[in-house]
């Protein structure tokens, strides 16, 4: 089957680098906000950098909420990156309270300024693989990935696939059925990041 990768365009952050990484791996990927493209894609990627509330407002305005939910329900392979992972949860405490896509039970919270010295969490941090899955094939436990975020996900169901330690442990990856999502940026995480993207497509 032809691999059609749709990188969902909703105007949040640099999507081109995600496309560049897929292209470098030899896949064709399209940055798109078009319903038909999303429907026809075999793989959906939801990236994003920026504010949770703005992101949800934009997804709603562009009419993308239902197409994304439908694709996930249908069982289409889905990858959430950074903000794209956070949006899968029910709520975020950013600016008080914001509602997300609600695919996963749980919330998105900010690093506690009283405990965490430097916010955002910027840089390379190692992850602990909690549940080995196809996405981690060939990737050693404790490999480093590039993180860039001030908020993190707190799942209320058993979906954590990897954890990261930054002034305490937080969920770095989640996996459930057809959905994989990571807080770090695989498109900026050198060989391990590219391996993860490749595994996502090939698994």
């Amino acid at each position: 089957m032809e691999k059609k990768i749709a990188v969902i365009d909703y105007g949040m952050g640099n999507l081109k680098n995600v496309k560049n990484a897929f292209n470098f791996l030899g896949y064709s990927a399209k940055i798109t906000g078009d319903f038909e493209d999303i429907k026809n894609a075999t793989y959906l990627v939801l990236p994003g950098v920026g504010g949770f509330k703005d992101a949800m407002a934009t997804l709603k305005r562009k009419g993308l909420v239902n197409p994304i939910k439908d694709a996930i329900t249908e069982g289409k392979k889905f990858l959430g990156i950074c903000l794209g992972m956070q949006l899968l949860f029910e709520t975020s405490e950013e600016f008080g309270y914001s509602e997300g896509l609600g695919i996963f039970k749980g919330k998105v919270v900010k690093f506690d300024e009283n405990i965490v010295n430097l916010i955002p969490h910027i840089g390379w941090n190692d992850i602990e693989i909690l549940k080995p899955s196809e996405e981690f094939k060939g990737i050693e436990n404790k490999s480093f990935f590039y993180f860039l975020h001030s908020y993190y996900c707190v799942p209320e169901e058993d979906i954590a696939a990897a954890a990261c330690d930054y002034y305490g442990k937080f969920t770095a990856c989640v996996k459930k059925d057809n959905i994989f999502a990571c807080q770090f940026h695989p498109e900026k995480s050198h060989k391990e990041g590219l391996a993860l993207l490749k595994n996502f497509i090939e698994s």
């Binding site: 955002p120 840089g123 390379w124 941090n125 050198h190 990041g193």
Partner: protein
């Protein structure tokens, strides 16, 4: 645990790397994309490109270069040099840069920091500070170190942090080019004044200097230019040394 970062800096002029181009195994030693790939292979944690081209054509050429780099390098990279307007930042990020570094323009018009951080997110905005010791205080210099702004560097660091900068690239002009180690005192003072990562720059000669700036000043990253070009101080061997000293690095 968060790793300390090693960041090679490449000075670009007319789309060529102009400083420290001693790689013998590269066909075109000055080709920024080839050099970036080599650093990427050697486990550089990030790359910094400083555009020192001084022509009106510069913006177009640097944007094309940024685009080409982003298609080939899958680690974060920053671009700086002559960034003066919000539109410059927008264009660089749109071409594939992950971060943009601002220096003189921020001193002239500090509000550009607030505006840029709000528009593009703090994490994309690096403020570069060139500091020099004058009497018993550190002062900020602008226009590539030519003009004394009279502003206290520690105060300025606090201000850029409060205005929403995501990182500070701190260069000691007293140490730059001397190969006598980083300015530990200055770096340490800035690190203690802000709650964002500080990238130390200026004066690195070897792995021990990098160890010192991590251990004594707690810098989040160490930036250097020419030292990484020599075989005995390649990035991997520097990282191995740092790891042997108990410093967390990505290897």
């Amino acid at each position: 645990m968060l790793a300390k970062r090693i960041i090679p800096c490449l000075d670009i002029k007319n789309n060529e790397v102009v400083k420290g181009i001693n790689f013998e195994d590269l066909k075109s030693a000055g080709d920024p994309v080839a050099l970036a790939k080599k650093y990427d292979d050697e486990l550089a944690d990030e790359l910094m490109f400083l555009d020192i081209t001084a022509s009106s054509e510069k913006r177009k050429t640097i944007l094309k270069l940024v685009e080409k780099i982003s298609e080939n390098i899958f680690i974060p990279f920053s671009v700086g040099g002559g960034v003066s307007e919000i539109e410059d930042i927008h264009n660089l990020l749109n071409s594939g840069a992950d971060k943009v570094s601002i220096n003189t323009a921020a001193v002239i018009n500090p509000e550009i920091i607030d505006e840029a951080a709000k528009k593009f997110g703090s994490s994309t905005i690096v403020i570069a500070i060139d500091a020099k010791k004058v009497g018993d205080e550190y002062l900020v210099f602008t226009y590539g170190g030519k003009k004394n702004s009279g502003i206290n560097a520690i105060q300025w660091a606090k201000e850029v942090y409060n205005r929403g900068a995501g990182e500070i690239l701190l260069t000691s002009m007293d140490k730059d080019g001397t190969k006598s180690g980083y300015e530990i005192n200055l770096t340490s003072m800035v690190v203690r004044s802000v709650k964002i990562p500080v990238i130390a720059s200026g004066g690195a000669r070897d792995a021990k200097d990098i160890e010192e700036v991590f251990v004594k000043a707690d810098a989040g990253a160490a930036l250097a230019a020419s030292i990484f070009h020599y075989e005995n101080s390649g990035i991997i061997s520097i990282k191995k040394y740092l790891k042997s000293k108990g410093i967390n690095v990505r290897l």
